[in-house]
């Protein structure tokens, strides 16, 4: 069992999606996260173990390597694809409640901003760490965040912005979210955003990289 879970983690870490995928070149012709996850389920390995000891371990390594500039966005995207393929096999277990997520994370790029790559990276890594992620996309206003929070009580919120002209919209969203559901924790990130800015707008956490968001959320889930 451990060997199979290690292989799944390895496939996620190195972005091996399935047998047909030519990436990474040194794993050409080998099974990927797709086949191995299916095999693990067929062998009766608990879906929770596949998530926690396979996917989460693999994605954590991806987050750390990305933070340390050992890998870059294309490699992270491949890992996320491998992880998503594996997760698609676990969906019925999430739906039945036999596999529990750590919590729900509602993420979006703020109103006026159409950039999605940073937001996508955070969403992928958080999801790969065992969270349910509700991705609201780009150009998202405060009303939309509040609506989604009402549908998913207890969710955490992630706000992304790439532009100095749109980062200011974070302030309004934080204000509205806190006014509607005061206990909501709001994380912010993006190229122009900083710890100073987080303090200024009353957000709860700033991270310069996706792994920081994952670590914060995991710590909150443990608290």
């Amino acid at each position: 069992m451990d060997d199979l879970l290690k292989k799944i983690a390895y496939c996620v870490e190195f972005g091996k999606i399935n047998l047909q995928s030519p990436y990474p070149p040194d794993m050409k012709g080998q099974q990927g996260a797709d086949e191995l996850t299916k095999e693990a389920l067929d062998k009766g390995i608990d879906a929770e173990d596949i998530l926690q000891k396979g996917l989460v371990i693999g994605m954590e390594k991806v987050g750390i390597k990305f933070r340390e500039n050992k890998i870059f966005v294309p490699q992270v995207l491949m890992s996320a694809k491998a992880m998503n393929t594996a997760i698609s096999h676990l969906k019925p277990y999430f739906q039945s409640g036999s596999v529990k997520r750590k919590g729900t994370f509602v993420i979006g790029t703020v109103a006026g901003d159409l950039h999605d790559i940073g937001k996508n990276l955070v969403a992928m890594m958080v999801e790969g760490n065992g969270w349910e992620v509700i991705d609201l996309g780009t150009d998202v206003n405060s009303q939309r965040f509040v609506e989604e929070l009402k549908n998913h009580p207890g969710s955490y919120v992630g706000l992304s912005a790439l532009l100095t002209t749109t980062m200011i919209n974070m302030e309004e969203i934080v204000k509205e979210v806190k006014a509607s559901i005061p206990e909501t924790k709001v994380l912010i990130g993006g190229a122009p955003v900083s710890e100073d800015f987080k303090m200024k707008i009353g957000a709860d956490f700033y991270s310069a990289d996706p792994q920081g968001a994952v670590e914060y959320l995991n710590a909150m889930a443990m608290a």
Binding site: S21, P74, L77
Partner: protein
């Protein structure tokens, strides 16, 4: 860009869609802040429009590409290189180059602008899709990049013929790829475009947004005259790697210039200029001066550079 548009009381949609407004806004900013160059950059979607994508112009934001026109390898194969004189957006920039020369009479260097090959490929195919293709489908990538550099060269030549002294190549997304991928797919293409621009008689400024520290050893070999550096890159380290011949342009954090006090901006400018003394360097933000930058902060930055140059 956006700063210049607002400084001249225009929306960004007007700035990006009418060369007269773009040129006049830049000249107004140049005169007020006593800048040494003017440019034609506005947004990444001039060539993308010429390739056939639908571009819309929100009032006060960067133009947006409604959807990527390349999804499959078949799309890449059927993509036709456009005539840059026939598309309204590329022609608008070419006319801008002429208008600059008409107004400035050759007394101020004019920087034209083209999308670098990977940036243009991402504009056409979508960022995530293109970055994934880099990992899995070399045929897709090579064919698309080759088509992008044909148009990049055509567009650069047209702007040089219209009066540009320099051409900026914007390949922002390169900071997000590893050096090996850069070397395999982009480096030679950067060299090819740069050599071509040099043959046409213009200089080249290469701009890659973000942290490009890991690419510097490769970039030193591509032959640009000016290398734009964003605030994340250490200027000393860049000097050490790219050497004394390349002019480094940068690199005060634009968010700092926007949000800090005039005194803090002055201090940062003095520190940078002190470090750069005796080296080939152009003072600028790294990257763009933001639209909400206080006028006095930008004036302070300029004033310090003036004092330094005259010492």
């Amino acid at each position: 860009m956006h700063f210049a548009a607002r400084f001249n009381n225009h929306t960004y949609a007007e700035f990006a869609s009418d060369y007269r407004i773009l040129v006049e806004s830049n000249i107004k900013a140049m005169e007020y802040f006593d800048m040494d160059m003017v440019g034609l950059i506005s947004d990444p979607f001039r060539e993308t429009s010429a390739f056939g994508a639908e571009i819309t112009f929100p009032d006060d934001a960067v133009p947006k590409c409604e959807y990527p026109i390349i999804q499959t390898y078949e799309d890449v194969k059927s993509l036709k290189n456009p005539d840059v004189y026939k598309n309204f957006r590329t022609l608008d920039r070419i006319k801008g180059a002429k208008y600059f020369q008409e107004l400035l009479k050759g007394e101020v260097p004019v920087i034209g602008w083209i999308e670098g090959p990977l940036a243009e490929a991402c504009d056409l195919a979508g960022v995530s899709n293109m970055l994934i293709q880099l990992m899995i489908d070399p045929d897709f990538v090579h064919q698309l990049l080759d088509k992008c550099i044909i148009t990049a060269k055509d567009f650069a030549r047209a702007q040089i013929e219209a009066g540009c002294n320099l051409i900026g190549i914007g390949d922002a997304i390169c900071s997000q790829i590893d050096r090996n991928t850069y070397d395999n797919y982009i480096k030679e293409r950067h060299k090819e475009i740069i050599n071509y621009i040099h043959e046409q008689g213009a200089k080249v400024k290469l701009h890659i947004c973000g942290n490009i520290t890991h690419l510097l050893p490769s970039l030193k070999e591509v032959g640009m005259d000016i290398l734009d550096l964003d605030w994340q890159v250490d200027m000393d380290y860049a000097f050490e790697i790219v050497g004394p011949d390349v002019i480094r342009c940068g690199n005060i954090d634009p968010v700092v210039i926007q949000n800090k006090s005039e005194e803090e901006v002055i201090e940062l400018t003095i520190n940078l200029l002190e470090k750069e003394k005796g080296r080939r360097h152009i003072l600028s933000a790294g990257c763009e001066i933001t639209v909400n930058t206080p006028v006095q902060n930008l004036l302070a930055m300029r004033k310090e550079s003036y004092i330094d140059t005259n010492e």
